[in-house]
Point group: C2
Chain length 154, copies 2
């Protein structure tokens, strides 16, 4: 629509990380299928946390023939490509984040059931402590810490 783009020779199209997926797949001998297209359309409109079940439900809205195992496998693939990240909620259920948000962990209050994102500076303390003491490189995105929030003490 914007006519000013028409003339540009090497217009940088403000790429979203999703734009070159088809190529990235092909480059690895993988394929660009309708099922993967559907999932990515769904992921594009997500923000914050989504459970795998919610993603499957959204895919079903767009394509009634959606199969759970296919979505789970596609999510695994996208995670390998670094486009999504999953962790496990307090009950062990999967929760996904769409990148490229800041990588972060989660805090869950067993008192009120609220979930918060761990702020970067707090996350850094955890990452640094384990790096310094054990040489362990933490993947914060897969972390959910439970306990009681300030409002739910005692």
């Amino acid at each position: 629509m914007p006519p000013e783009q028409k003339a540009g020779a090497t217009v940088r199209p403000a790429v979203s990380p999703w734009d070159d997926i088809a190529e990235r797949l092909h480059a690895n001998g993988l394929r660009w299928t309708p099922q993967r297209r559907t999932l990515i359309e769904v992921l594009k409109e997500q923000q914050g946390h989504v459970t795998a079940s919610e993603l499957i439900a959204s895919c079903k809205e767009r394509d009634r023939t959606t199969t759970p195992s296919t979505v789970y496998r596609a999510l695994d693939l996208l995670e390998e490509l670094g486009l999504v990240r999953h962790g496990h909620g307090h009950d062990g259920r999967e929760e996904y984040h769409v990148l490229p948000d800041q990588v972060h962990g989660h805090l869950y209050c067993v008192g009120c059931g609220t979930t918060w994102e761990i702020r970067p500076e707090t996350g850094a303390v955890i990452v640094d402590a384990l790096a310094a003491q054990l040489g362990f490189d933490v993947d914060l995105s897969h972390v959910t810490i439970s306990g009681r929030c300030a409002g739910c003490h005692d």
Copy 2:
């Protein structure tokens, strides 16, 4: 067997935390059942981590009629009483610890699959950081942090 105990009026029998379970249950209007007895016998001989499935299997060895849902419910109860604690492994599966070990979290290396316990001083850094910055009271026992160990970098 030891005859020297026979005469003692108020011998303190080096109580294990399991010894007074029947009373603790009764005190709360709860019941002492064969299924709970079986589970506790199994728990007594555990050390380190056990998955719920492993516990169910062990209970079945002692009592072939063991039912999974009953074991899950008994574990919930024992956790409320503070006698066991569970967390979720990297795949979200439940892992139990028998108390009164030091409460601790876990580290999982996605490279080699090894799991370590987080040492008290390292755990303290995490607990203190979240307490200081957010007033959040961490339950370290329910934490599993994944990442890459020193031997599995790059």
